[in-house]
Each structure stands twice: as C-alpha cells, then as structure tokens.
C-alpha cells in the first residue's frame, strides 16, 4: 500500500511538471484554433433581430455562431451550429436576410480558415 | 604541568573567560551573531509594527492625526461588539483548545495501545488539515445547511449555540490530526523500563497512563495546547467562508471579525486599540500561566 501511494505521488508529480512545461503547447496543438471572421448579430429593426448575411455563411438553413465560455484566465470560443429562418434577398446580391433564430450579440461566422464543425475551437480574428 | 601550560596558553587567547553556561564570550557572541537575521526580521515585522499599532491606538481626529489619549481605548471598551467579540473569542479558544487537546490525548493513548506506528490512521486524522478551506467549508455547509438545522439556530435559548457549533466542530476536526501526530511521538519516547518497573509494582494500565505517561509528556501537552490556541485564533478564514459574510451571527462574532471590519472601514485607530487591548489580555494570561508553572516546577 505504501509503495502504491509513493508511486501515485511520483507519477502525479511527473504529470504536474510535464504539463507545467508543455500544457500550453499541447493545448494549442491538440485543439488548433481555426481563424474566423465574424460579425455580431446586433442589428435591430422593428420586426426584431435581422441580419443580412452572404449566402456562403448559410448551409441547410443553419449558420455557425461562436460561443464563448470562461475558462481560467482565458475565454474559450467554440463554434456551434444554429438553425435560422431565412428570406432570400435579391438574387444578385447573394445575400440572405435572417429573420429569426439568432439572439442579440450572437457572433455569426462569416468566413473561416477551414470548414467549421460543431465544437471546434475558434480564434476570432475580428469582426466583419 | 601540561594543564597549566594549556590553561596559560588558552588564557592568552582569551578563551578561559567562561560565563555561567560554560561558554566563553567569543562563542556566545558568535551564536548571537548567527541569530541576528532572525532578530532583525522579528524586530522589523513584529516589534516595530506593533509599536506603530500602539501609536495608532493613541491617535485620532480624522484627517489631522493628533494625540487623543485613551479615547480610542475607551471607545473600544465601551463598544458592545468588541465585548461580544472578546467573549466569543475567549470562549472559542478556551473550549476549542481544551476539547481538541483532550480528544487528541485520548485518541493518542488509544493509538499507542494498538500499534506501534499506525501510519494510515494518523494520515487520515491529518487529512482535514491539508484540505483547502474552501473545500472544507463546502462540505460543512452541505451538512449544516438543512432547514431543520436552520430552525435550530433560531430557537430562543440554544439558538446561538447551534449557530456557532459548526465552527467548533470544524476547528476540532481540522486540528486533532496534528496534535495526535505530535502526542503519539512523545508517548512513544517514554522509556519502556519505567513502565516495566511500575508494572512490577502492580500498577494497572489506567494507573500507568495517568501517573506515568501523562506527567512525562506534559511539556508536549502544553505545546500542543499552545499550537491549538494559535490555530484557534486563525478560524477567521473558515468563519468568513462558512457564514459568507463579514457579520456572522452574534455567537460566532469573533475578535478577528471585529478587527477585519474596522480594517475595511479604515478605522485603523480603533482596530489598533483593540489589538493592543487583546495583546494585553493575552500577555497577562501567559505571564500568569508562566509564573504558575515556574512555581509548581520549583516545588
């Protein structure tokens, strides 16, 4: 029993030291940040929240938004897929008008480095 | 012949001048020099600040600091909260220390009877000391936060007792471990021969414990009591976390709460006066205890 406790402590200690040195690197390597441009869905009209988006952003009636959750001394941004109601705009403009499905402050992904899947960690480069 | 030559030679070097403890001046000086860092630090971070505190205790008058005599002391002494805090702290320290020490003694005796080392039990007892305060308090709140208990704390005569009981239990739970470790070490150092001799004289196990072990480890018991006393004054952090407020229920309002609140109200003069008075009380109590112990050991 004593040996087991000793071993556990040594292993844990090694883990602590290892991750102290490499934890950050591992985090970046394992969950690479995908760069993305976003725009905030903060446009209010009398009908409610409406946002105009290029067609490429919308797929199958869904858009990608970015959710942030507070980790310890950093905020982690994850991509999430949300269903929205659209109205096609002028066919030449190539834009959709989002009627509902988004809340004020939601950050919608306009373009991204790679195709985003649900749960991907995102690095937001800026607002469109 | 050799000896006188030696002594003569040594006296040339000034080494025969021994003090009452048999050490000559040079060596004593060296030891005291080695103690210099400790003494300087003590002066800088304990004595000087305390003197400053005393100075604060005598000033007042808002922005313009002027000497106000004993005004602050009188204000503190008349302050109902201070008296409450003093009473509660004295009660907590006294009851806490006695309970913890007695419990530790009983448990240590029991342990000594079972096994030589009893490592895991000792490790278990000291686990609460290691647990972070926040975690301990979380568990305590889970246990004591039921509606039933809450109504207990509201009852007429015993409400105060129940309100502060969690704090007492927390203190005991946290501090038995370290006391047990120290006491078991002391108990194991009592030489076997004494027990054997007493057993030959026909002493039973109870007599052995009370008449031999206990007196022999009494300096350790005193130290354990002192350690527990020092820790009892530190209950502030757990109290703050548990009651989630700077103003705990009346029966749990301690001196540190009083001082802390005055610290945040920027009322340093009051706080210093309270600290000085508290130190005075404790100082007198310790001096009394010391004198009593000196007298009893001389007999």
């Amino acid at each position: 029993m004593r040996k087991a406790a000793k071993a556990a402590i040594i292993i844990f200690g090694a883990a602590v030291i290892f991750f102290s040195l490499f934890g950050d690197m591992i985090y970046s390597a394992v969950t690479p940040d995908v760069s993305a441009y976003t725009v905030s869905a903060a446009v209010m009209t009398d009908g409610g929240l409406k946002l105009v988006l290029p067609k490429e952003c919308v797929r199958d009636g869904r858009v990608m938004i970015i959710e942030s959750y507070p980790a310890f001394e950093r905020t982690v941004y994850t991509a999430r897929s949300v269903e929205v109601l659209l109205r096609e705009g002028d066919s030449e403009s190539g834009k959709y008008l989002i009627e509902s499905g988004l809340k004020q402050g939601d950050r919608v992904v306009l373009t991204s480095e790679k195709e985003l899947r649900e749960g991907d960690r995102v690095e937001t480069d800026g607002h469109g | 012949m050799k000896r006188s030559k030696c002594t003569a030679a040594r006296s040339k070097r000034g080494l025969t001048n021994s003090g009452r403890d048999g050490m000559h001046k040079k060596l004593r000086f060296k030891f005291i020099a080695l103690s210099a860092p400790a003494l300087i630090g003590f002066a800088e971070f304990y004595i000087l600040p305390f003197i400053r505190s005393i100075a604060y205790a005598f000033t007042g008058g808002g922005l313009e600091k002027r000497f106000v005599g004993f005004e602050n002391f009188i204000a503190v002494a008349e302050n109902g909260y201070f008296r409450l805090a003093l009473k509660n702290t004295a009660l907590f320290s006294l009851i806490g220390v006695i309970t913890v020490t007695t419990l530790a003694i009983i448990l240590s005796f029991g342990l000594a009877g079972i096994s030589e080392k009893a490592l895991w039990i000792k490790a278990a007892f000291i686990a609460p000391y290691i647990l972070p305060s926040a975690s301990t308090v979380l568990i305590w709140q889970a246990v004591f936060d039921s509606n039933a208990y809450f109504s207990l704390t509201r009852s007429e005569t015993w409400g105060g007792f129940f309100a502060v009981l969690p704090l007492y239990l927390l203190f005991i739970w946290k501090n038995v471990g370290i006391d047990i470790i120290i006491l078991t070490a002391a108990i194991s150092s009592v030489p076997r021969e004494i027990y054997e001799a007493a057993a030959l004289d026909g002493a039973g196990p109870k007599a052995l414990r009370f008449k031999i072990t206990l007196p022999m480890i009494s300096p350790t018991v005193l130290f354990v009591a002192l350690l527990s006393f020092v820790n009892s004054l530190k209950i502030f952090r757990e109290s703050y976390l548990y009651y989630k407020t700077n103003y705990p229920p009346d029966s749990a309002y301690m001196l540190q709460n009083y001082m802390n609140n005055h610290f945040y109200k920027l009322n340093y003069e009051n706080l210093s006066a309270a600290a000085v008075m508290f130190t005075l009380f404790v100082g007198v109590a310790i001096a009394a205890a010391w004198i009593i112990s000196e007298r009893s050991s001389k007999r």
Binding site: F72, E73 | F31, A38, A127, L131, I139, S189, T220
Partner: protein, 254 residues
C-alpha cells in the same frame, strides 16, 4: 477481542476524517458519472494559467520554510542553552508575537513594505513570513533536549558556532525540524489574506491559495486535488524523520 474492537473503531473514525479529502479526489476523477481524467486534462491544458500560481506557491512556501528553519535555529539554541541578558523578556515577546492575529500587524506591515518598495513583489509575499515566532519557540524546545555533554564535547572540538550547530545540534533535532517544516509549509501554503493585500496590484504573483476559488466549476475538483498534492508529497518525504524512534524526546519529556 478488545484490540479488534478498538482497531475497528479507529478505522471507522479514520474513515470519517478522510471522507472530505477522499470525496474531493474522487469527484475530480469523475466525468459524466464515469471515471475519467478529463478534469485534470482540462485543468492542465486549457486552464494552464493555473500552473503559474501553483509554482508561485511552491516557490514561496519552499523559500519561507527553508529560510525560517535556517535562521531560527541559532536563536532557538541561544534561548535554550545560552544565558544572555533579557533572554526571558525576549522569549516572552516571541510568545506574544506568535499569538497575535494578523489583522493587528497587517497595516503596519503594509506600510513598512511600502516604504521599502517591496509591495507587489514576491518579497512582500515571503519576507514577512520568514521570521516565524513559532519556529523560534519550537527550536528552543528542541534544543533544550540536546544533552549538554554533547554540546560540551562539540565545543572541545571546534570554536565555530556553525559547526557546533551542524554536528551536535542539528542531527539531534532533525525529526522536530521535519515537523516544523511541515507546519510552516502548510501555514504559508494556505495564507490568503496577506497575499491579497500585499500584492494587490500585481495579481500575477499571487499564490495558488488566493486563486483556487476562482477556478471554473468543471475543474475545481482537480484544482483542489492538485492544491493538496504538494503537502501530501511533503508528508511522504518527511515520513521517515517524523516517524523515527527518537522523535519523541525532542518534544519535551520531563
């Protein structure tokens, strides 16, 4: 029979005391109802900033413990074996200082550190705690148990105070020093209030004790367990000197 009952009783009691710590560790190893190291993974990678504070604490506590023990030993020995003027009064002052609640000296210490320009530096979080009165008190107690003959024979060999301490006194009090180290380390590891106030404007140098409660829910278990880990390790390392057979006498027997 009686021993068995007693043993069972102690086992039960021990389990009761272990409950909280065991619960914390178990909680940290569970995710979604099953055993998993996820909490630790999250803590060590995503919440990597945790380590900054962790090593702050390790550094502070180690420094405080080592220095405290080193500089208090000569003084403790002096109190025990050397007669000098005012030793009783000074020791009495030490005893009182050990009992002062920190609020009494907090403000003057703050002012002192400010005037020395040490505020918001690691020095503010270590220096004031390196002069523990408890250490001096205990060292005196330990030194009292060193037989005078040992010291006398050491004095015949050398006139260096340092050597006497190292060869005659230190080996004798090692178990006590181990216990003292554990006490000081634990105490400094858990201080919160002083650190908060002395390093107010430099949160990067906070010890872990201050930041532990700010960990997000999903890693709080792992955080608490890692917080306890160095103390476990310390007790394991110090186990031998703490358990050694001579360890009892130094606490003082009549």
């Amino acid at each position: 029979m009686k021993t068995r009952v007693l043993k069972a009783f102690y086992a039960l009691l021990g389990a009761f005391f272990l409950l909280a710590s065991a619960a914390l560790i178990i909680k940290s190893l569970i995710y979604n109802g099953g055993p998993s190291l996820l909490e630790y993974w999250e803590l060590f990678t995503v919440d990597h900033a945790f380590f900054g504070y962790f090593w702050n604490s390790v550094f502070y506590s180690a420094a405080i413990t080592a220095v405290s023990i080193a500089i208090s030993l000569p003084l403790g020995f002096a109190f025990a074996k050397i007669r000098f003027k005012g030793s009783k009064a000074l020791f009495y002052a030490y005893l009182l200082a050990a009992l002062l609640p920190f609020q009494a000296t907090l403000l003057p210490n703050y002012i002192c550190l400010k005037s020395l320009n040490m505020l918001n530096t690691p020095l503010a979080l270590t220096l004031p705690m390196m002069f523990s009165p408890l250490a001096v008190f205990l060292d005196r107690q330990f030194a009292l148990s060193v037989p005078d003959e040992l010291i006398d024979s050491a004095r015949l060999e050398t006139s260096s105070a340092l050597r006497i301490l190292r060869h005659a006194v230190w080996p004798h009090i090692k178990p006590g020093a181990a216990a003292l180290a554990a006490l000081i380390f634990c105490e400094s590891w858990n201080t919160v209030e002083q650190a908060l106030i002395f390093a107010m404007d430099n949160p990067g140098i906070y010890p872990l004790s201050v930041r532990l409660s700010d960990l997000p829910e999903n890693v709080s278990g792992a955080g608490g367990a890692t917080y306890m880990f160095p103390i476990f390790a310390l007790f394991l390392i110090l186990r031998k000197p703490l358990e050694s057979p001579e360890s009892g006498e130094i606490w003082g027997t009549k």
